[in-house]
Structure formats: C-alpha cells, structure tokens
C-alpha cells in the first residue's frame, strides 16, 4: 500500500528532530533546513543517511540535495543562477518549489529551496514510485 504524505511527513519529522536536535513543533512543512532549523553542510549528509534507514531507500549522492551546480561558471554568473543553471537545477530538483526563487535566482537565497516539504516530496515519490 502506498505511503500517504502524512505518513512520510511524520517519519521525516522524526528524522529531522534527531539529525538537527530541534523540537517537534519546529518541524513545519515550510520550515527551511538552514534558516529555520539551523542545518549545516554536514547535516545534509546525516539527513540523507537517516532517511535511507528510516524509509529503507537508496538516495544517490546529489539527488536530494544537488551538488556541482554552484561551482560551475556556466550555471552561476554575478551571484545569480543563469537561465541554463536554473533550468538544470529545476530538472534535478522536481521535488522543490521554485515559485519564489525563480523570480530572483540569487544564490544567497538558494537555501530557501531546501524546506521540510522538499524532503517530503522527494521521499514520497521515492517510496511510491521507486
């Protein structure tokens, strides 16, 4: 039986509480991992490892949190994602909501893409569609 979004959210919440040492009530769908929950770079890897165990899934490196975008000059110019860079990121992150970010794709605002809901969307698709 497929998992519901509520089931996935509950487990993601548990995972984030453990990985980031935050309180239950801080985990809201629109909370950003870095800004609201205080995640640092190593925490992203920790979250990936914990999600793999909690949901019994395999998360290839760079799939949930894409890498090799910011260090590519074709994708970033003057501190903003280029059209090509934005298209690339959207293709690699179908689980993220770009509606705000694409209005001003400043890389300093990229952290806003990484929300609790971003993880929920990713995992939901992974557990139900493989």
């Amino acid at each position: 039986m497929p998992m519901t979004e509520m089931d996935v959210f509950a487990k993601v919440k548990e995972t984030l509480v453990e990985a980031l040492s935050v309180d239950d009530e801080e985990i809201k769908s629109d909370a950003t991992l870095m800004g609201d929950l205080g995640a640092e770079s190593i925490d992203f890897l920790d979250i990936v490892f914990r999600l793999e165990k909690a949901f019994n899934i395999k998360i290839p490196r760079g799939e949930l949190f894409p890498d090799n975008i910011l260090n590519n000059p074709q994708f970033v110019q003057n501190g903003k994602l280029t059209v090509v860079g934005l298209a690339q990121l959207k293709e690699r992150m179908p689980h993220a909501d770009f509606s705000l970010f694409e209005q001003d794709p400043d890389i300093s605002k990229m952290a806003e893409l990484f929300k609790v809901q971003t993880i929920v969307n990713y995992v939901l698709n992974k557990v139900n569609n493989g």
Binding site: E18, A19, S41, I42, D43, L45, D46, F49, E52, K53, R61, D67, N71
Partner: protein, 158 residues
C-alpha cells in the same frame, strides 16, 4: 603528554565494531585543573576517546586510505561522573559507511556499567563536496594510532 585518549583496544572487528579501554589516573595533569578539590574526567575527553575508538574503526575499514575527521557529535549523553581509578570502556559500531562519510553509534561504560551514549559522524575529507584539497600524506592516522590495532590485524584475534 600525547593526544591519545584510549589505552588499549580489547576487541576489533574490522568494518563493524571496536572496543577500547581507558584507565583514568590521578597522574593525568588535566584532572588537577578539573577540579583540584574533586577531580573528574571531563566529558569532552570521553567524546574524544570515543572519537578515537570509532575513528580508527572507520579508518581501518577503508585501509587507512581516507583522512577521517570528526564532523559531527550527533548525540552525547553521559549520566555519571568518572573519577581517578575508574576504567572507561568505549564500544563503537559502524552504522553507515559511504564514500564521503561514516556514522557510528557508541556506548560508554564505567567499570562495566553503561553510563551513556556517544553517536558521531566522520567525514572522509578528501571526498568533500566543496572540492577542497588537503595534503597528500595521511596526517590523521599516525604511528601511535595504527600501533594500537596492530595486534588485532596481525594476530587475527588479538
């Protein structure tokens, strides 16, 4: 004084589990500062002892080819004080090991009784996502660490 916070491995199962002991002695300088009237082993140094136990376990799992650096203390709970004359036991298990990092779960015992948990995460720093470069030689695993597990790797059962 050398920066080594375990005395001996008593078990070493490559890629899986390691157990090390540390005998706390009043001859150790730091105990006289922490604190003179009532010396106790600092919890921060128990975390270091666990990091050395688990870090050597993680390093050996990749044949000491990776530079293993403590990246995160996921959990550290110690529920008792440790004083001179006590023996600490650090039990470390690998939970996850991947090309870029490893996660370990550890329990701490005082004279054979469990007093806490220390869960850690290590980074294989040459595999870092930022692409930063480090010296070629493995400055993490020097002779004193590798000598500690030599009896287990050479003799098979220690």
């Amino acid at each position: 004084m050398r920066w080594i916070w375990i005395d001996r491995f008593v078990e070493f199962h490559p890629g899986a589990k390691a157990v090390a002991i540390k005998n706390v002695s009043l001859a150790e300088e730091h105990l006289h500062d922490h604190w003179e009237p009532f010396p106790i082993m600092p919890v921060s140094l128990m975390i270091e002892g666990m990091a050395q136990t688990a870090g050597i376990l993680v390093g050996q799992a990749r044949d000491f080819k990776e530079k293993v650096i403590l990246a995160k203390i996921a959990k550290a709970e110690i529920n008792d004080i440790v004083t001179p004359g006590d023996q600490l036991t650090y039990q470390a298990e690998i939970v996850t090991i991947a090309p870029e990092a490893a996660v370990t779960h550890g329990t701490v015992l005082k004279n054979g009784t469990c007093i806490g948990v220390i869960d850690l995460m290590f980074s294989h720093i040459d595999q870092n996502l930022a692409g930063a470069k480090f010296p070629q030689e493995n400055f993490v695993f020097t002779g004193q660490f590798t000598r500690l597990i030599a009896p287990f790797l050479e003799g098979g059962d220690g």
